[in-house]
């Protein structure tokens, strides 16, 4: 177990290194921060001074090493656009994105899994067909369109829910949460749905497909032959066996949720990292972009680790080193 976790962590190192290299490459190639920072009036000397100040005149590898050294300490410098420490900016924005992503993931799982189970079990019922059609539309609609349509309906036409922002948040240490206020919760609904719909569809379809496969296996047939109840077969035996692939995909999808948050946050002016990122892309605010990338990579590595641990919990076959063989 311990060895397993350690080896996973060690494997994460090359991933993080590769990501930091990409991030750093952006420093060197993307945008010209100097021009943006100088504003309307400047002289050539000022420009040169700034270039030197930012260390942009040093050799590539010196810059890279410096970058890694800083990154390890969570130090990504100051945002070109906002003149504030990037780490602080990200820390400020992360709660919003993570809460949104969490909600979306919960929606996707809480609705997607039961729907997948249902459609897998009752392949030909009317409701299954309805779910399937609905789900296809879910994957065929671009996220941003869903968001805007939701705003049009629920905010503008009906006035039930806010069209933007996070509502009132409560501060818990450095973390801010919208879960504790009515307006915070209301503000979560539309973006979380927008973000969750696509994943919901994916998870539902995945669970359905897995369910259908598992239901054909010999051990399910054998469980039937043993006279177990339907409930025990469908939920005890079948569902658990669908979990392994579902966990994998769900893990990957959580990453995708965070990535898609860029779109949702843009539409709903959600004060999260995605919005920060897209604004940074527009302004070639490389430190923010780089830090964001590294953070996403870190999130992925963590998710993968958790997924592996869940595997380990769910599937005894992976617990090597114990018992016979």
């Amino acid at each position: 177990m311990f060895a397993f976790v350690i080896s996973r962590l060690l494997q994460a190192i090359p991933v993080m290194l590769a990501v930091s290299f990409i991030s750093f490459a952006m420093f060197t190639y993307v945008g010209d921060p100097v021009a943006i920072m100088l504003g309307q009036d400047f002289t050539e000397a000022q420009r040169a001074a700034l270039v030197a100040e930012l260390g942009l005149d040093q050799p590539f590898f010196v810059q890279f090493l410096k970058f890694i050294g800083n990154a390890v300490q969570g130090e990504f410098g100051l945002s070109y656009r906002l003149s504030r420490p990037v780490a602080e900016l990200i820390a400020e924005r992360a709660p919003a994105t993570l809460e949104l992503a969490l909600c979306a993931a919960v929606i996707a799982m809480a609705v997607g899994v039961p729907m997948g189970v249902y459609t897998g079990l009752y392949r030909h019922s009317i409701l299954s067909r309805f779910f399937l059609t609905f789900s296809l539309i879910g994957v065929s609609l671009p996220t941003f369109l869903i968001g805007i349509l939701l705003i049009l309906i629920f905010a503008v036409a009906l006035g039930w829910l806010p069209s933007f922002g996070r509502g009132d948040v409560v501060r818990l240490g450095w973390w801010t949460t919208g879960f504790l206020t009515v307006s915070g919760l209301k503000a979560l609904i539309l973006p979380a749905i927008t973000l969750g719909v696509f994943q919901l569809t994916l998870i539902m379809r995945l669970v359905r497909a897995e369910m259908m496969e598992v239901l054909r296996t010999d051990y399910i047939k054998f469980a039937r032959a043993r006279g177990l109840s339907n409930r025990a077969i469908n939920f005890g035996h079948a569902l658990k066996n669908t979990l392994v692939p579902v966990i994998t995909i769900a893990g990957l999808q959580l990453g995708a949720i965070i990535a898609f948050a860029i779109v949702t946050e843009t539409v709903f002016q959600w004060p999260g990292m995605g919005l920060l990122f897209i604004q940074s892309v527009g302004a070639a605010d490389v430190p923010v972009m780089a830090a964001y990338l590294m953070l996403i990579a870190l999130v992925f590595v963590t998710i993968n680790l958790i997924v592996d641990l869940l595997y380990y919990a769910v599937d005894p076959r992976l617990r090597i080193g114990k018992g016979a063989h």
Binding site: F42, L50, L78, L82, V156, S163, G165, Q269
Partner: protein, 508 residues
């Protein structure tokens, strides 16, 4: 008094709270609620007493300001001449972005606690215009908080003033979450509340919303009361929406096209061996190929004032006789092109920002179509302002869309920056002249504008405007209009500098 809150939104958020660090509209629009300058703008953008009750040019290079008595900062410090001297010095620091407003100032001297002398290196006739953009800070507060220098955004630093304020203004900063929400509360002791025509707003909640559609949705659904920059296409809908009203007015900003006129061969064109844009006939052809009326009606939805000159009438030096466009005439344009040796036109790339000016990309698309129709096959290259500015600052462009605002409301600012020859002039000359336009007569007129006063100066401006019209160094398009949208229960004077002054706002 009962709470009267205005929830206000715009697309951008101020990136600092330091009053001398960033000379950007998004910063100023919040800070001018908090800080006062010595001289402030009236509702018509004229000069009005602010923290200075009067000012005069006691010598050609010395201006004297008499300060208002009994003014206190939000944190209680009394406002004195020391603070003025400190603030002007601070604005002159290298890390300040406000240098252009204090560039002529040699020093500021406290004559007595309520009098300050500003000494300039050269006679500066428009100093009051400039000083109206310099906010006054408390010396003791700044020193106590280690903020005697403006925040240096370039040097990876964050100082007290990045997020804290202490002004003398009508509102004080109650809460700030960058990019999310900035809350201002009424400063009950503001000296100006006693004056006539002030409003009743007790709290301002500013929330940036970058997506146009969402911003408008928020206004329509009543989550926001005031939108500074509603998209033009939504005005019709907003006007007809219940409970929403729209204020329209001009901005002191002119949109034009800059052209590479100095290279022997254009970077982005199929013409080899010569530069068509250095030929007046071609410039005029491009000019006359533009159907500005169509752009105004369709692209700008009526929210623009087509122009033939360099700045709008609010700016000192404006001359209506010079504000005449070359007429739209596609046939003439084709003829001019043929005359210049391009009977089959040529190919060119138009660089264009897509998030800087109102409908900038759409304007460029429309122009590209119009030029293409007279044979100038135009490729459109639209990008966000970051890369766009970087590109044109490298002079890596052949023709580009640009907009120029005049905060000093004086003609010199435009001529100096946009049309002065880049080589050999004074510092600051031609720094935005990326087309490399150079005209000895123009340069001479600009130096006269700098030093002369009175009619002589006006004549120089007038002549420069005439040259502008004849020589087409830039193709003027229009002055921007800036509609503001708000819930109907709010009234606020529309300002051509696109700054809402909530001290004058009334909520019913």
């Amino acid at each position: 008094a009962e709470a009267r809150t205005v929830r206000w939104s715009a697309s951008g958020d101020p990136n600092t709270m330091d009053p001398h660090s960033q000379n950007v509209g998004t910063v100023t629009m919040v800070l001018q609620q908090i800080y006062d300058p010595l001289i402030q703008r009236s509702r018509t953008l004229g000069l009005a007493p602010g923290l200075a009750v009067s000012w005069e040019q006691v010598e050609p290079t010395r201006w004297r300001f008499r300060l208002r008595e009994g003014v206190r900062f939000h944190e209680g410090q009394t406002f004195t001449a020391e603070d003025v001297v400190f603030s002007i010095d601070r604005a002159k620091q290298p890390t300040s972005n406000f240098g252009i407003y204090v560039d002529t100032i040699e020093s500021a001297v406290a004559v007595d606690p309520m009098t300050v002398d500003v000494i300039t290196r050269v006679p500066d006739p428009i100093l009051p215009n400039k000083i109206a953009s310099v906010f006054m800070m408390s010396r003791s507060w700044s020193e106590a908080n280690g903020a005697t220098r403006p925040q240096n955004t370039r040097q990876r630093e964050e100082i007290h003033t990045t997020r804290n304020t202490n002004g003398t203004g009508a509102f004080r900063l109650a809460n700030r979450e960058p990019d999310v929400r900035t809350v201002l509360a009424r400063h009950a002791d503001w000296w100006g509340w006693r004056e006539e025509g002030t409003g009743n707003v007790t709290e301002i909640v500013f929330r940036p919303i970058s997506s146009d559609a969402t911003r408008i949705a928020a206004l329509l659904s009543g989550e926001v009361d005031f939108v500074l920059d509603p998209p033009l296409q939504d005005l019709q809908r907003l006007r007809s929406a219940q409970g929403v009203s729209v204020l329209e007015g001009p901005e002191v900003r002119t949109i034009f096209l800059g052209m590479d006129q100095f290279r022997p061969e254009l970077l982005y064109s199929d013409v080899r061996g010569r530069n068509p844009l250095s030929d007046l006939r071609v410039r005029r052809a491009l000019y006359q190929a533009i159907d500005i009326q169509a752009i105004q009606r369709v692209t700008m939805r009526g929210q623009s004032m087509p122009t033939g000159t360099l700045f709008p009438e609010q700016v000192n030096g404006y001359a209506r006789e010079e504000d005449v466009r070359l007429p739209f005439d596609a046939a003439r344009a084709r003829a001019l092109l043929a005359e210049a040796g391009y009977p089959n036109g040529f190919e060119i790339t138009l660089d264009c920002p897509n998030n800087r000016y109102i409908n900038d990309e759409q304007i460029c698309q429309a122009i590209a179509g119009m030029w293409s129709r007279v044979g100038v096959r135009t490729r459109l290259n639209a990008m966000p302002l970051g890369p766009f500015f970087a590109k044109i600052q490298r002079e890596d462009t052949s023709i580009y869309l640009f907009g120029w605002g005049v905060p000093t409301l004086d003609a010199l600012y435009s001529f100096q920056s946009l049309l002065a020859s880049r080589a050999g002039g004074q510092q600051g000359d031609g720094i935005w002249n990326y087309g490399g336009y150079s005209n000895a007569r123009m340069d001479a007129l600009i130096s006269r504008m700098r030093t002369e006063t009175g009619d002589a100066r006006q004549a120089a401006i007038r002549e420069a405007l005439n040259i502008f019209r004849e020589d087409v160094p830039l193709i003027p398009l229009h002055h921007q209009m800036i509609p503001w949208a708000m819930r109907s229960n709010i009234s606020i004077p529309h300002m051509a500098n696109n700054q809402p002054y909530f001290r004058w706002a009334v909520v019913n």
